[in-house]
């Protein structure tokens, strides 16, 4: 009932230390996993285009495992089962945050690989040929010519993945990472103010995502290759900007 919504309690929750700490932690977890998954996804994407069958098979297997199992299961597996399998993970350095970061990075990389690959493929191969005719090595062509152009193509779908990741961090509450959802749970377990607690957490997510959307559109402009002062036709992204997936 909206009538029972207590604005004061809502403000208390919103401005409380656990909430903004939780938001900060969620953001940290998102950034770390996002960064690692891009690097990992890049190499997976290169692997998918590899001439070696074994490498291609390996990438396929990796993607299959991480896309075909629920993220929550993966998270619990890393946190609870991994220390059973390898004693290395039983010591103090293996924190819930680290477990969550590892899981989300590995999971996200499977999706990133596809995005990075479509970005790399979107660059006309004629440019690679021209680079080779000048005597550039394949690595240099990739770095100077292909990647900068692929970046523009992958920004929208990657923005989408960032948002997905941010929301996935709420799963980490089950392995006692004190992110936003944990903050909300802790809050209502003592005050029984469910509406206010969830509303406060939701507002944090909304604000973060909104800021991100602004950053994304700036980034898109930054990687549009045209001299200043001229409107450019919009390049249709090779990947749908919005995709629904229930991870």
């Amino acid at each position: 009932m909206l009538a029972s919504f207590n604005t004061h309690i809502f403000w208390v929750a919103l401005s409380s230390r656990p909430f903004w700490r939780g938001a900060l932690l969620a953001l940290e977890l998102t950034f770390v996993s996002f960064a690692i998954s891009i690097v990992l996804g890049f190499f997976l994407a290169l692997g998918r285009g590899s001439r070696s069958r074994t490498v291609r098979g390996g990438v396929f297997f990796y993607t299959w495992i991480f896309r075909a199992t629920p993220t929550l299961l993966q998270l619990l597996f890393v946190w609870d089962a991994l220390p059973e399998i390898w004693p290395v993970f039983r010591s103090g350095w293996f924190t819930p945050f680290l477990a969550a970061a590892i899981t989300l990075s590995l999971n996200e990389a499977a999706y990133m690989a596809e995005i990075v690959r479509s970005g790399l493929l979107s660059v006309d191969p004629g440019q690679e040929l021209a680079g080779r005719a000048l005597g550039m090595s394949r690595r240099r062509i990739l770095r100077r010519i292909v990647v900068p152009q692929a970046v523009r193509i992958v920004i929208p779908p990657m923005g989408n993945e960032f948002i997905t990741l941010l929301k996935l961090t709420s799963l980490a509450s089950v392995i006692s990472v004190t992110e936003l959802l944990t903050a909300a749970q802790n809050f209502y377990s003592t005050t029984f103010s469910y509406q206010e607690a969830f509303a406060a957490a939701a507002l944090y997510y909304l604000v973060i995502v909104s800021v991100l959307m602004v950053l994304q559109s700036r980034l898109e402009k930054r990687f549009t290759f045209t001299s200043r002062g001229r409107k450019r036709r919009v390049v249709a992204p090779a990947v749908p900007a919005i995709s629904h997936d229930a991870r």
Binding site: D124, G126, G131, A133, L134, F225
Partner: protein, 234 residues
């Protein structure tokens, strides 16, 4: 004495023999124009000469040795400019990335060559903002700035609107006039007539006929050449 020489160049794509032992040579300052139907192996021959393809048999020699990267310049049908770089950066690219020239120096050379193709005022434009003819001239400058010993043109005007063909041919003609050694795949017969030292007819991976342009166009020897010319000229 030849600058560029192909000896017995043979190339297979899977089961298909695209080049069947092509041998020919280009003397310094010569301009060879290659014509022939699509699938005759013209483009593959150029790619072998530019070292973009490794021949399965035979060899390509520049001044009797293997060419170094950039020593044989290549111009493509679809320009293939780097879309993330301005016209100037496109021309600088080879000097900076391959020849390791300092940026300032590369910039000076690049501007000079952009000027030579008449595009000094377009230095800051991205390929997207240039016409096809302008893009192709930037592509020519990008190859020329490497000071190649020979230039290869793969149908440089076939992707252009009719009214833009002239400006590209003009650049090529003045280049020929300066004594550049050139191999041009093109069906611009008037260009071939005016500029070529000799014209080659290719068909099914072989050179069918080679002759100076006057002779080639007025009295072709081979039946295949006659048939092809009657189709192109009509």
């Amino acid at each position: 004495m030849s600058v560029l020489r192909a000896y017995d160049v043979t190339k297979w794509y899977d089961e298909l023999e695209v080049l069947r032992g092509v041998t020919f040579e280009v003397a310094p300052g010569q301009v060879k124009v290659i014509i022939g139907p699509s699938g005759s192996g013209k483009s593959t021959l150029l790619r072998c000469l530019a070292l973009l393809e490794e021949p399965d048999r035979g060899e390509v020699l520049l001044e009797d040795r293997r060419p170094e990267p950039g020593e044989v310049g290549m111009v493509f049908q679809r320009f293939n400019l780097f879309q993330n770089m301005t016209a100037l950066e496109n021309v600088m690219c080879g000097l900076v990335e391959v020849r390791k020239l300092p940026k300032r120096e590369a910039r000076e050379h690049a501007l000079e060559f952009l000027g030579r193709v008449g595009l000094a005022d377009k230095a800051a434009q991205y390929p997207d903002e240039l016409s096809g003819g302008q893009q192709q001239r930037v592509a020519i400058a990008r190859a020329l700035v490497m000071r190649p010993k020979a230039m290869l043109f793969d149908e440089p005007t076939s992707a252009l609107d009719v009214e833009l063909v002239r400006e590209v041919l003009d650049v090529m003609e003045s280049l020929a006039g300066e004594g550049m050694t050139m191999v041009v795949v093109s069906h611009e017969l008037r260009f071939a007539h005016h500029v070529a030292s000799s014209v080659l007819m290719m068909d099914e991976g072989r050179i069918v006929e080679e002759a100076p342009p006057d002779e080639f166009f007025s009295s072709p020897r081979e039946e295949r050449t006659k048939r092809f010319l009657s189709l192109v000229e009509s």
